[in-house]
């Protein structure tokens, strides 16, 4: 899986600042994600998860800082075939069939013509849509549609998958199946950054990034987060972290919440 940029982390974000519509969405964020992990990006709606993901994929205008993926600046041309990105709303062509969609996206990421059929078949099987290959996307249910969107990101075997709320609105069985797919991909060496506002998905992740108001409150494993906060579940841990950060923020308004929190935690 490691083509180049040998030992560089999958994602390295330093002092990222993003301003959208005159509002600072991310005030200065640092985060590093190692390779081959499933990293959960958890936080309430509007906390900057999507903005951070867009910055990593390289489609977000940033106001400062650096974002590197596999040691290369985010958004640079060589990275575009190594990252699979799934937006929150399914972004596929409603008026094409599942197979036609995937065939096109596979061609775009550089799958050779003679391998196209096999590749399309492979990703359709991966998201368990075998019965619907010839169905038009606008005839599918919402959950099926988002799986087509996921499949479109899986073509060409990207090394990093950035998935924005891929399990939202899915039934529990499907959610479990998707997490099984994510785990299998990670076992193959793929790095996954998966956002969710459902805190109970935390148990599926190797590592958690808890985010609020554009700031990473915690970057730890689930047991680590629970231990440092003395809580039994992620939701309570999250609330404890928010309270601590708010308290720290009051004492030292010039410092970022995150670094204040980290100092206190140590």
């Amino acid at each position: 899986m490691m083509k180049n940029g040998g030992t560089a982390p999958a994602i390295a974000v330093r002092d990222l600042k993003v301003v959208r519509g005159g509002r600072t969405v991310i005030p200065g964020l640092d985060v590093t994600v190692g390779r081959g992990q499933v990293v959960g990006l958890l936080g309430p709606s509007g906390c900057g998860k999507t903005t951070l993901m867009r910055s990593i994929v390289g489609v977000q205008q940033v106001a400062g800082g650096t974002v590197e993926v596999f040691g290369q600046p985010a958004g640079c041309a060589p990275l575009r075939s190594r990252i699979g990105y799934v937006t929150q709303d399914p972004s596929v062509y409603d008026d094409l069939t599942v197979a036609e969609n995937l065939r096109y996206f596979a061609t775009v990421v550089g799958v050779r013509r003679r391998d196209l059929d096999a590749e399309v078949e492979r990703v359709i099987a991966q998201v368990v849509l075998g019965d619907h290959a010839k169905a038009r996307v606008d005839r599918l249910s919402g959950g099926q549609r988002s799986r087509v969107s996921l499949a479109a990101a899986l073509v060409g075997t990207p090394e990093l998958l950035v998935l924005d709320e891929p399990t939202v609105g899915l039934d529990p069985v499907l959610r479990r199946d998707l997490w099984t797919i994510f785990r299998r991909l990670a076992d193959d060496g793929v790095t996954l950054l998966v956002s969710s506002h459902v805190m109970d998905e935390a148990s599926r992740c190797d590592r958690l990034l808890l985010m609020r108001a554009g700031v990473v409150l915690a970057d730890d494993t689930l047991p680590g987060v629970l231990e440092s906060t003395g809580q039994q579940d992620v939701e309570s841990a999250f609330l404890t972290l928010v309270d601590r950060a708010a308290a720290a923020g009051h004492r030292d308004p010039h410092d970022t919440l995150e670094s204040s929190f980290e100092r206190e935690a140590r």
């Binding site: 390289g58 977000q60 041309a77 596929v92 062509y93 008026d95 094409l96 096109y104 061609t107 775009v108």
Partner: protein, 244 residues
């Protein structure tokens, strides 16, 4: 830009249209009905022979402009544009793919409409009929190119549709169809020299009135193609991989 990705994009756009047979029927039938209506209105007068050919260029131009601006707006709103621009697809591949796909549709439309006008309605063409088709296709491609460019500025379907009166009607008024361009007031004449549809209509007129029109037609067609290339380049330039 890569020919493979441009063609793959064109194929994808055509596949989308193929799933929508009513749109194909409208694309092919509507210009014929309009031309037929015109011939009927001016039955037994020389007017149809004067207006028929220019309108044969203008109808596909307008239809392609509309279809293209709506198609690209849909691409933006469905999120597929963002996905594609995060993938290894050149901006030129996307714009070029649309131009090729709609250019092909336009060719079918122009062939049917021109054939209908010449062979069924008896449109009198001094030059050769195939030149009529060539110019009609070029006019339609011009509509596609302008539609691609203009759709970059539309944030909603309402705006996209408004661009028709805003961008196309002034060109229609000044293209020489209502009054010969040389009879326009000086300023308007100069303005019409800078508008692409003027050359499209000049070319169509040359085909109908001159027996050996090839030279004049080629010059006007070259002008139109320059506008096409400029609009496509500007259209590609307005695509941003990074958005706010």
């Amino acid at each position: 830009m890569s020919p493979r990705l441009t063609l793959a994009t064109a194929g994808r756009v055509l596949r989308q249209v193929r799933h929508d047979p009513r749109t194909i029927a409208l694309l092919v039938v509507v210009p014929c009905i309009l031309i037929g209506l015109l011939a009927w209105i001016y039955d037994n007068t020389p007017v149809f022979d004067q207006l028929g050919a220019p309108l044969l260029g203008i109808f596909p131009f307008i239809v392609m402009f509309l279809v293209t601006s709506v198609a690209t707006l849909r691409e933006r709103q469905s999120g597929t544009l963002e996905r594609l621009l995060a993938m290894p697809l050149g901006k030129g591949d996307l714009i070029g793919g649309y131009a090729v796909a709609f250019g092909l549709l336009a060719a079918v439309q122009a062939l049917v409409a021109a054939g209908f006008a010449v062979y069924v309605l008896g449109l009198d063409v001094a030059g050769s009929a195939w030149l009529l088709v060539v110019v009609a296709v070029v006019d339609a491609v011009l509509g596609t190119a302008l539609g691609l460019f203009v759709s970059a500025f539309a944030r909603s379907e309402f705006q996209a549709v408004q661009f028709l009166p805003a961008f196309i009607l002034p060109q229609f008024l000044l293209c020489g169809l209502l009054t010969p361009r040389e009879n326009l007031p000086g300023v308007l004449n100069a303005v019409s020299d800078a508008l692409p549809l003027s050359y499209a209509v000049d070319a169509m007129r040359a085909v109908t009135v001159e027996t050996d029109a090839t030279g004049d037609v080629l010059r006007d067609v070259l002008w139109v193609l320059c506008f096409v290339v400029a609009a496509l380049a500007l259209g590609a330039g307005t695509l941003r991989r990074r958005t706010p």
